[in-house]
Symmetry: C3
Subunit: 162 residues, 3 copies
């Protein structure tokens, strides 16, 4: 039954990371978003179907923190889209036993609810995060984050990262 | 990495408070609802749009625990509405560092799912809690709770507190 | 404010159990599902309405782990249905004080989101788990799990356990 204090501290730190990530996106603080990742990160959004078939197709794919920052600029400067509210619901954080010094594997379920002006709230996407976290200085960061979505999404309906 | 035991105990206490709140409302134990608040509390439900514009308009606003109790009586005695089931989903509790003796600031995402008789389950509202908690005797209570909703709600469709 | 280390370890163990359960079902690892239960378990899915009226009707009812295993075989071998993705959202774990050696009572809110091929993501069900957990060897297992659903479900739309 005993559980090391260190394990517990790590678990709380992971929960806080996921919580901050959700709030930053729901607040549209996009410039903060790349700061959750390591310099050489991989961030991708892939469909459940493509992932199961082993297809490399991704709806969004960024292979470094610099590419994430570019993506933010693109969203801020060039895209035209209707105002909306987003709300992340994240649950069932599954933390794999930390087997190596390479990082910690974590999975979590998520749903993103979207509200357009004068419309009811709808489920924009449901899916899973499949992540590898590493310590980067004092902070835990995403070495890789793969957002696997169940929801059939028209590509141009996805504007913001998940 | 070290985390004080006291911080951890506070965190668990906050999680339990939010859990109890959700279950009490989902169980329609409305008479218990004011007990989550301090005597001089502020409880309000405001739209995301009005909040961002700094407008003081609120869909519901109670400025004391006594007003919350009045609200419960109103719901119990005078309103006519179809039976329903409500289900709160709360996630991403963001606990601000306890900077002062005035209390603890907490935010959380929420969605409330509503099921009317013979209808499918729908999203009644999605949004955020913005709260200040204070210690009141042995218990943590809401000094203020602001429910910011993304969802465009027809005012009379909201009967119960969020 | 002090909280025993043992209480905390139990709480984390319960959270991990609920997390594993959700991931196993969302991954369609159905053969693992009976392993969450004791040999003499009770698993049932009942409507909120029937539960409140005290009616014994259940949409699914298994009175032992062997019956759960039978159910899995039935799902795997005989049923015909469209492929789908499921996503469990579980929150507000309410852990009753462990009053006796008989186990721990836990309740939690849940929603299951379902995505059929070429269709948007919908709420398959919303409801509550009402559970009793017991220690079985080294692991915590469900002595009973009652899934109370708010959602009006056509009986044959429920294929997988909740």
């Amino acid at each position: 039954m005993a559980r090391a204090q260190q394990d517990l501290a790590l678990r709380l730190e992971i929960e806080e990371l996921y919580t901050e990530y959700a709030h930053v996106l729901d607040n549209f603080e996009l410039e903060q978003w790349p700061e959750f990742f390591t310099d050489d990160c991989l961030y991708q959004i892939v469909s459940r179907e493509n992932r199961e078939r082993g297809l490399p197709l991704a709806l969004m794919r960024c292979e470094s923190k610099a590419m994430l920052a570019d993506r933010v600029v693109t969203i801020r400067q060039t895209q035209m889209f209707a105002p909306r509210a987003l709300r992340h619901l994240v649950s069932s954080l599954r933390i794999a036993p930390p087997a190596s010094a390479d990082g910690v594997d974590v999975q979590a379920n998520n749903a993103v609810l979207q509200t357009l002006v004068d419309d009811e709230t709808r489920i924009l996407s449901a899916g899973r995060y499949i992540d590898r976290l590493v310590r980067d200085g004092d902070a835990l960061k995403f070495k890789s984050r793969t957002c696997v979505y169940d929801t059939v999404m028209v590509p141009n309906s996805l504007i913001y990262p998940l």
